[in-house]
């Protein structure tokens, strides 16, 4: 795709630099002239929000690391001293702890957006798979971060999650011992989790670069799922997308700030303000809210190995979406049946999240089993079949046509023409 303008260095210094390191023209073509579909809605701002949140986590994390002690006897107290003694320590920790939640909120919306508008379809498969990898890395990073304050939930979450590997026949127990560096979760475990929690966000940043690179090769999808055909279908990234992203990041931050300043512990478990006690399991272990749907799937299945496999498969299956979905129409707006099944799928995931937070008894287990069945049924039965049988709505000829048909004319620069 061609851009709107090409970068021509003006000053002698920029011309000198351009011949040695063409970074300014790279930035110009990627973030200024880069053409974005003109009909993007606010669901498309979550990529920017995610990049912003990664920055927030890295900045607050590096600062927290200046005051945190990764040693079982001091970790809990060092976090308490961040809260009470360090200047603005409470703020930095609340930003980081709630930041993880908002990071996950954004990634779930971002993934749901991709599923609704069929953004994983040809030619965006690699872009999509890089996204699933980013999500997996976030899951691991968030889990290891949660262990660091070394409260009761930290300790027992570490125990339960690392024990998932013990389900693997034969190699399970050696793997778990290796992960722990001892016979149980202990100081070696805390130390290595700290090291990896520091490292992984930078790996994430690296994969984000690949993700954006892939995005800029294939271009953005859009609410119609029809590829841009002429220049009339796109607008320049700057100012259109930049300003729109910035505006929505602002709104997102208002909600984020509300949590930080008014209900900073709303998403935390009070048990994590009790120092870790390896001799006593809390009566009700629940992971952070963003893992609950998968936790519910794990508990819905009464067989340990099968439960762990289902948990893993529930996440990994997302990577197969480009091939599970057989329909060539991207956007759910033109796939009435898919739209209904997909919205039920989103509801099922939220329902699983609720069930994951409840005690696993009687009716809750049965409900979790039904929703788990739907989760996999949607991915492995409904998606492949639907593409073969569904009658889709007619697609617009082009993005600009759809924009002009739907409402008032979008602007003088876009005459109504089909092309």
């Amino acid at each position: 795709m061609s851009g709107y303008s090409t970068y021509k260095p003006q000053s002698p210094f920029m011309q000198w630099l351009e011949r040695r390191l063409p970074i300014a023209s790279l930035i110009h073509s990627s973030f200024i002239a880069y053409p974005t579909p003109r009909n993007l809605n606010y669901w498309w701002t979550f990529g920017g929000i995610l990049t912003f949140m990664l920055g927030v986590q890295i900045v607050t994390g590096v600062v927290l690391a200046m005051h945190y002690t990764p040693q079982v006897d001091f970790a809990f107290d060092s976090v308490e001293s961040i809260m009470r003694d360090v200047n603005y320590g409470w703020l930095l920790r609340y930003i980081h702890a709630n930041g993880a939640s908002f990071f996950f909120l954004a990634v779930y919306i971002h993934i749901a957006r991709g599923m609704y508008y069929g953004s994983y379809k040809e030619p965006r498969e690699v872009l999509w798979i890089l996204g699933v990898i980013l999500y997996l890395l976030m899951v691991v990073t968030g889990f290891m971060g949660y262990v660091l304050p070394w409260g009761q939930m930290s300790f027992w979450a570490a125990t339960v999650i690392t024990n998932l590997f013990s389900a693997l026949p034969g190699i399970g127990d050696p793997i778990v011992t290796w992960l722990w560096g001892g016979y149980a979760v202990g100081n070696p475990t805390l130390n290595r989790f700290y090291s990896l929690h520091y490292l992984l966000p930078f790996i994430i940043a690296g994969v984000v670069v690949l993700h954006i690179w892939a995005l800029h090769v294939v271009g953005q999808n859009n609410p119609t799922g029809v590829e841009p055909k002429t220049e009339k279908d796109t607008v320049a990234f700057t100012p259109y997308a930049t300003v729109k992203d910035a505006f929505f990041i602002g709104l997102f931050c208002i909600l984020f700030a509300y949590f930080i300043f008014y209900i900073p512990n709303y998403l935390q478990h009070s048990d994590n303000y009790i120092p870790a006690n390896p001799g006593q399991t809390p009566t009700h272990i629940v992971p952070e809210w963003y893992y609950l749907p998968f936790y519910a799937i794990l508990r819905a299945i009464p067989n340990k190995l099968a439960g762990v496999i289902a948990l893993g498969l529930a996440i990994i299956s997302l990577a197969f979406l480009p091939w599970l979905d057989t329909s060539r129409v991207r956007s759910a707006n033109y796939r009435p049946a898919y739209r209904v099944f997909l919205l039920v799928f989103f509801a099922a995931v939220i329902g699983l999240g609720y069930l994951g937070s409840q005690e696993p008894t009687g009716g809750y287990v049965i409900a979790a089993r039904i929703l788990t069945l739907y989760y996999f049924g949607f991915l492995y039965v409904i998606l492949p079949l639907l593409g073969l049988f569904e009658t889709t709505k007619p697609l617009p000829n082009s993005i600009s046509e759809s924009v002009l048909r739907e409402g008032s004319p979008a602007g003088a620069s876009a005459p109504a023409s089909g092309a």
Binding site: W156, T159, V160, I161, T162, N163, L164, S166, G172, D173, T177, W178, L179, W180, G181, G182, Y183, A184, G186, P188, R192, P278, G279, Q280, T281, P282, T283, H284, I285, R299, I301, P302, N303, K304, L305, G307, E359, P360, T361
Partner: protein
């Protein structure tokens, strides 16, 4: 690679009859040495995460005087960082363990899966029936099961017969640590190696004289 070999072939003896040249041999040999070297480098990088010498050294045997435990009571000691339940079972508990009602609920009532040393592979899964010795780690995902020795209509669940209940995902075990069927935990609670050093003292972490070689890591799963 083709380019380089053909260039080299110009200067060297004739080749290209599908035969490997001496240079091909060098490439393959170099690559193989490199691969072996890379694999050898991985060994320390991976193995450093295993339990270190001090952790292993701290895993020695632990003694406990069981005569101090009142009947129906349980003491928890630590061996290799793991909680060990030592339960002084009452006559009533021993009867429950043998009742057909209890046995019908269990997934492996005869302890066929190796989750205990041979000297504890019996109906009471211990050396002396009145003392149970178990690793107190749920075979599901590692929580510490709670001790509810007495039968109860309501606690921790309805029609409870007595035993252990895991709060994390609801696994149930009988007083001998045998797991119920239909719960997430797959295996019975492990029995650690232990022996009576005298009539009243057990030493956890050592086998009795008659089966000295039994290795705890032979159990199916912790």
């Amino acid at each position: 690679m083709t380019d380089i070999t053909s260039t080299s072939a110009k200067g060297g003896p004739a080749s290209g009859h599908g035969e490997g040249t001496r240079r091909d041999f060098l490439y393959i040999a170099t690559a193989m040495v490199g691969a072996v070297g890379a694999a050898a480098t991985l060994v320390p990088l991976v193995d450093q995460m295993n339990p270190d010498a001090s952790t292993l050294a701290a895993g020695g045997p632990v003694d406990l005087d069981v005569s101090k435990i009142e009947e129906g009571g349980q003491v928890v000691v630590r061996w290799r960082q793991r909680p060990i339940f030592v339960f002084h079972r009452s006559k009533k508990t021993l009867d429950t363990m043998q009742s057909s009602q209890m046995i019908s609920l269990l997934s492996d009532p005869n302890s066929e899966v190796v989750q205990q040393p041979p000297y504890a592979t019996n109906w009471h899964r211990s050396i002396k029936p009145e003392y149970g010795v178990l690793v107190g780690i749920c075979t599901h995902l590692g929580c510490i099961p709670l001790f509810y020795p007495d039968a109860s209509a309501t606690t921790p669940v309805s029609n409870w017969l007595g035993g252990y209940f895991c709060p994390c995902h609801g696994s149930k075990y009988d007083p001998a640590g045998r797991v119920y069927s239909g719960v997430p935990a797959p295996y019975n609670l492990p029995v650690p190696p232990y022996r009576f050093v005298n009539d009243t003292t057990i030493r956890i972490g050592e086998n009795p004289a008659d089966s000295p070689a039994w290795d705890f890591s032979a159990i199916r799963q912790l």
